[in-house]
Assembly symmetry: C2
Amino acid sequence: MKQPGMLELPVLGLLKERSMHGYELRKQLSTMLGPFWQVSWGSLYPTLRRLAKEGAVETAPPPKPFKSKAKTTARSHKAQPAAPMTSGRRKTVYQITPKGEELFTSILEETAAAVDAEHFTLKLAFFRYLRPETRLLLLERRRAYLQDKLAQFKANMRDYKERIDSYTLSLQNHGMASTQSDIEWIDELIRNERGVEVTTRPETSQA
Amino acid sequence: MKQPGMLELPVLGLLKERSMHGYELRKQLSTMLGPFWQVSWGSLYPTLRRLAKEGAVETAPPPKPFKSKAKTTARSHKAQPAAPMTSGRRKTVYQITPKGEELFTSILEETAAAVDAEHFTLKLAFFRYLRPETRLLLLERRRAYLQDKLAQFKANMRDYKERIDSYTLSLQNHGMASTQSDIEWIDELIRNERGVEVTTRPETSQA
DNA sequence: CGCGCGATATATCGAACCGATATATCGTTG
DNA sequence: CAACGATATATCGGTTCGATATATCGCGCG
């Protein structure tokens, strides 16, 4: 997972359900995506600041002051690095704004960059927020992309299979099989999406 | 493909076979890896400079001056950006050095970071340069990693399958199936590696 | 009782990569 | 000979990663 613009969607998607701070955001993300992706701090916190600057999220004050702050005295004995107030256990809670909701939807709906595995995976995790027709559109885009990838594999094999060693050959074959398996999975999702109705067509080729 | 340290191995691996310039390097890389990975210029050229600075590669003068350079006159009419000599069709040919050969081998042999899909894919493309025992070691590391990933999937499913929606569930299931398929592929590679000898053991579990 | 240790929580740094873009030349083709 | 696509190198800005720093909280354990 390293494509740019990967964090916005899941961050907004989780904040849409309820307000959270960074640490919890990461835990939720891990739960949701399992072994697919472990978000790094070095991308999560900058993303939160980015979203805040765009006005897509805003920081809420901690729910309850609770213990009262008895030590508002200077307390700068340790030289805070660069940002204001660098002390422990802060719990900067972020909540989504209407603008953030809009951004979330526009990112989720966009079909252009939805094709690569990472972006698609992320979108699927928030598929429930899309209308069925948009879901179908995204699924079909992904399918077309995979079909194209498969064709590239085949072309590559046709042209170069004499020139590549057995390991690379095995790699290509496994890549093809995986892509084929991905396509079948997408087809299953498409079938589920359409209910069980129509589509008595026997074969799956469409490209 | 975005993990750091991804370019060094294939660049050195290709230059090991014969000297090339950047553009050709990229074409060869595309041929070898097919649809797996398209290297971007923004990473390839900086990598070449990085490797040059480390002394792992060096630029060779163009094979033949050929047409003779009749215009060694100033010719600075266009303000070259930052590097010396910025004109067209330069063909900066890179060749590997002994130090580069060493670096190639050490990167290829290291087992630590060999586990993630991208690095493993890249290593496999140069597997022929490894001794059979090192190949087996790398394959088994990869297998253990995948087995662990599978276990994480299972644990995740066990703990959260009630709380996640059907799309995320399908995602997890497909992820598990893919990982399982990857394991079987690795097992096949391991079997091939061992020749056909021994290992009459019926099941594949080893973790 | 206090001491360490692990979980909680935020932040930053440098390195690496990507996508887009700029620039220039060469070969072909109409 | 002009247009165009392939060849060829380079840089910029933005994003992510991995490592690391810092600090606090809660718990167990001697």
